[in-house]
Symmetry: C5
Subunit: 100 residues, 5 copies
Amino acid sequence: MRLAKIRGTVVSTCKEPSLQGVKFLLVQFLSESGEPLPDYEVAADVVGAGTGEWVLISRGSGARQHDGYQSRPVDATVVAIVDTVSADTGLRYSKKDDFH
Amino acid sequence: MRLAKIRGTVVSTCKEPSLQGVKFLLVQFLSESGEPLPDYEVAADVVGAGTGEWVLISRGSGARQHDGYQSRPVDATVVAIVDTVSADTGLRYSKKDDFH
Amino acid sequence: MRLAKIRGTVVSTCKEPSLQGVKFLLVQFLSESGEPLPDYEVAADVVGAGTGEWVLISRGSGARQHDGYQSRPVDATVVAIVDTVSADTGLRYSKKDDFH
Amino acid sequence: MRLAKIRGTVVSTCKEPSLQGVKFLLVQFLSESGEPLPDYEVAADVVGAGTGEWVLISRGSGARQHDGYQSRPVDATVVAIVDTVSADTGLRYSKKDDFH
Amino acid sequence: MRLAKIRGTVVSTCKEPSLQGVKFLLVQFLSESGEPLPDYEVAADVVGAGTGEWVLISRGSGARQHDGYQSRPVDATVVAIVDTVSADTGLRYSKKDDFH
């Protein structure tokens, strides 16, 4: 999975029928240390993530391992909202500090 | 999924038999802010997208999650026509404004 | 799918048993405008493509969506020979012109 | 698989339900000669790897080939702890020497 | 598939149980013309390849299309030992010449 930050939303009326009801979020990938990277993804949201939150993105067939998503044409999904990222050099990110 | 813009079409007479009837579109990937990227893809179209429209491309096995596509050798499909892209900094793209 | 040009062949005697009878082509990826890219692939051929022809390459599990290929360890296949590539700026490639 | 080094952990309370009980490790990819690369991954751990250890990361659907992981939305998993890496030029890495 | 050269071996005692008995080879990817690339992979071996040999690497789910490998967490496998690579410009590689 990759670390990313929720940046916005993508809206589509005309889409593959099974995508009805799927929420599309614009997410920007983050480096290991939290710097925004040029890469982004439009990901389905199954955890109710909000703008600015750090999340984990699962891609490929992993993005469809969720009830009701097995046959939807998605290749990226927000699967977790990150609380903390800790490394050998100490705490790198804490949602509590970021959103206080 | 990735944001892309429809640039053209690819025609093939001699192809894997199950690809009969599949429309191939030439799509150019866009950066998060809408700039054209050097990367492109030839994608199957299941939503009837037209030249210049912004779309979402699903790749890998996700590209085959559509009625009748499960056993076709495609690895990229246009799965949605984008209406709007909104970010924390405001509206980034609106089809209505782009095509008025 | 990606645009590529047939450059040559790869021959192997000692291989995974199910690869017997699979023809391996050396293909060079092309940019959207037809320039050769540094990336290449060794792809199985299911359409009888010849040297110099422009083709479409399907990668990943898409490369095995062909009768008798479902259980073969291939991750790239030539799935179509390209007749024309047309973009908003006009005809970019025509097999007829290329091979006359 | 790719060589990587365990750098830390990622904690998430709000996540896709089937991810309960999955341990997320922050892993940094290594070059063939053991230099840290800028790329990282957040990987599920099924072997009990510890900080600083060299491991093998399997990505894509390969990351879910483990009892109970088939339907979890993970796309990267720590599948082995590396003892030694040997090349034609000699021993490149030995866990015993690294952790003595 | 990609061209690669066998460079060495990776040994692991503590690993996902189904990986018992799998031989891990360190392989270095080659450019189309045979130059070593910075990218490498640790690949399972199902053909008995030896150091210095040119091989074909299949990645993703293609790497598990071999008897007994369907449920093993591998994402790269050596599936063929290359005899020759021929291009429109002539013979690029011949195992016979390389190992005489």
